[in-house]
């Protein structure tokens, strides 16, 4: 086996699917957030893989860096939202929070 682009892409795809699964099956908002992080990582792997194996430039890496940055910002805000949700509804369970909202 000569490791190349498809392998990395496959790993990325599996990671993405797992993240998607987590997002859909988790009830806890933080669990969902973890799923999102997985998906972002999957996309980053793809960015870097393409940047390396196709383009041979660092644009993909810059993109991935931006993604990481935005993921961090997203994490900060999302966690703040979770906390606010928790404060207001007493739970981090997204479903229940939704129900309580109504």
């Amino acid at each position: 086996m000569n490791v190349g682009l498809p392998h990395y892409l496959t790993v990325g795809a599996i990671l993405f699917a797992l993240g998607l699964f987590a997002v859909m099956s988790r009830r806890n908002a933080i669990g969902i957030l973890m799923g999102v992080e997985l998906m972002l990582n999957a996309s980053n792997i793809n960015f870097v893989a393409f940047s390396r194996y196709v383009e041979n430039a660092v644009d993909g890496q810059v993109m991935a860096a931006f993604v990481i940055v935005l993921a961090a910002a997203e994490a900060a805000v999302a966690l703040a939202i979770v906390l606010a949700m928790y404060r207001n509804y007493g739970t981090a369970n997204a479903d229940i929070a939704q129900r309580l909202k109504r």
């Binding site: 490791v3 599996i14 699917a17 099956s25 997985l38």
Partner: protein
């Protein structure tokens, strides 16, 4: 050969804990499993000669995001009762996830990639130059996003609205009933 081995190890390091992240009923465990996924991803970046990204991943994701996630978990989650996943959730999620994976995998295998494997070079200077030149506006835009995120997080986590008039009584003077 060694490269393959390293890749396989790293892929396993990424994916196996990821499964744990997804399935673990204890969110704290999931958080710690996420650590390994992120570590594995960092390893994958490094193996693809994206050293800057790998280190960034370590620093931001592991040193930052994960700590925040764990904090939040500690604050909101009590691992007393087990989280009750039901099949009602798992089945559709699994089906959909598999579907997506299938499409992706089909794409990956169907396309013939014109892949090159160039010599690895240090990336930081190139990334720096890119950011300073080509990506100058995204870069500044990012700073605005971060500012917004900061203010937003501050607003959301603020406990109370401190107003200027709110001057709480100090410890003195509150004990009128007990003071002789």
């Amino acid at each position: 050969m060694t490269g393959d081995l390293i890749f396989i190890l790293l892929a396993l390091l990424t994916l196996v804990p990821a499964v744990w992240v997804v399935l673990s009923r204890n969110l704290v465990h999931a958080g710690f499993a996420l650590l390994f996924t992120l570590l594995g991803a960092a390893g994958l970046y490094a193996s693809m000669a994206a050293d800057f990204l790998a280190v960034t991943q370590l620093m931001v994701y592991i040193g930052g995001v994960l700590v925040l996630v764990l904090f939040t978990v500690m604050m909101t989650h009590v691992p007393r009762g087990r989280e009750n996943h039901g099949l009602d959730r798992y089945v559709p999620a699994a089906v959909f996830a598999l579907l997506v994976f299938g499409v992706l995998y089909k794409t990956i295998t169907a396309v013939h990639w014109h892949a090159v494997t160039p010599e690895a070079e240090p990336t930081i200077a190139r990334i720096g130059t890119k950011v300073m030149t080509d990506y100058i506006f995204p870069f500044e835009y990012v700073s605005l996003v971060l500012l917004a995120a900061m203010i937003g997080a501050a607003l959301l986590t603020r406990e109370y609205r401190p107003t200027d008039t709110e001057d709480a009584p100090s410890d003195a003077g509150e004990d009128a009933e007990v003071a002789s």
